[in-house]
């Protein structure tokens, strides 16, 4: 079997917005994914909002990161249907992408539905992929939900995380339908990132 050398990773840099998140930043180029992982009208009864900031080692919010979310639907199924453009033709894609440079506080907010469990030993979660200036590699983490203590307790991956760092993967419910998920690149609350 051939083994080809893997292409090295490089930073996304500070200027990705007009290419990867153009519509959000007001550039004249369409975007294939934004902050809505579902059609908000079709799912209005079950919408949730996931917000957060990304903090550097000085505790400063990062203004030039790009964050992607990929999740299963409420039944625990990942969509295999090709994403279409214009958006909202599909009621659920499960894929979102936002830059952190368009709000004053560098906050991101995804609009979605709470995913179902994808396996018996897996709590509801969202796969999170992060890129930013100053990061030379793809950063992978996961978002779990604070109001799923029983499922979280039975989640194999969450269980393999050091107990004192587990909270970095759990989005906190701030009020009905709203969850807060901050990512800390460094420091005492440094988010757990995965080696893929």
């Amino acid at each position: 079997m051939t083994t080809l050398p893997i292409t090295p990773s490089q930073t996304v840099g500070p200027f990705f917005a007009y290419g990867l998140t153009a519509h959000q930043y007001g550039y004249d180029f369409n975007s294939l994914a934004e902050g809505e992982l579902v059609d908000p009208i079709a799912h209005s009864a079950e919408l949730i909002y996931v917000s957060g900031q990304i903090f550097d080692g000085n505790g400063q919010p990062v203004s030039d990161a790009m964050i992607e979310c990929w999740q299963a639907d409420t039944q625990g199924q990942y969509s295999t249907k090709p994403i279409a453009y214009p958006p909202h033709q599909a009621s659920f894609t499960g894929f979102g992408r936002l830059g952190t440079g368009t709000t004053r506080t560098n906050q991101f907010t995804f609009t979605t539905v709470k995913p179902g469990s994808t396996a018996t030993d897996s709590a509801p979660h969202i796969n999170v992929i992060l890129f930013l200036r100053g990061s030379l590699r793809t950063l992978y983490t996961r978002l779990y939900f604070s109001d799923e203590p029983k499922a979280n307790n039975q989640d194999a991956l969450l269980h393999s995380v050091d107990a004192e760092r587990r909270h970095t993967l759990i989005a906190k419910k701030s009020r009905e339908g709203h969850y807060q998920f901050d990512i800390h690149l460094q420091g005492s609350d440094e988010t757990v990132f995965f080696d893929l």
Partner: protein, 245 residues
Amino acid sequence: MEPNIVEPDKPATASGLDQSVPLSNHPLHLSPAYKSTILRSPTRPLMLVPDQMKNLRMPVFGDSCMGPLDNDLTKNARKNGEPIGERIKVAGRVLDASGRPLPNVLVEIWQANAAGRYIHKAEIHDAPLDPNFLGAGRLLTDTEGRYSFYTIKPGAYPWGNHYNAWRPNHIHFSVIGPHLDQRLITQMYFPGDPLFAYDPIFQSVPKHARELLIARFSMNWTEPEFALAYEFNIVLNGRNQTPFE
């Protein structure tokens, strides 16, 4: 003033380890010569995850996502004429490490214009914008994993990392492969760039793997009286095992 030459990399694994273990081709997260990594790279070891997680299928994008000019950056933002600069073709294949071509992969690119100016609003480099050039494009690879863009050769541009810091000419690539561990963002460089030795981002890649980021000039693919061609192949992680579908 002497150029600020970047210190050579430390090896990607600690010395004394079994040298038969292949070194990673990726940069370390912390690469202090690229100063932004100091406060922005994880300090704790990354957590190992089961293959099942690596094998998770990523979203796929339909043909409706692609506009007819999305892969032609010389045409996709024209306002009142043609963009200025050297028209080039950048083409290649997206494969996995086992040599399998990866079809229907979303490849997105973005870059500076011929003068070395990004259209991004936060960019302050004093070089002209080109009213007929955005510098962004995208496509889906074909059934053989092939892709092809037309664009304008990007210029070098200065940045604030250190005194007299310049980025080599480069095109940013974002690739969403079929599995979770095949999500890659990288940069493609041009052969023979004199700035390689001075660029801490290029130098962050272990020495043995740097050439993988340099496109190959292709006379074969060059289009007579139209555009020089560069070949850049992208290799994503292979599969350790056949995932259950």
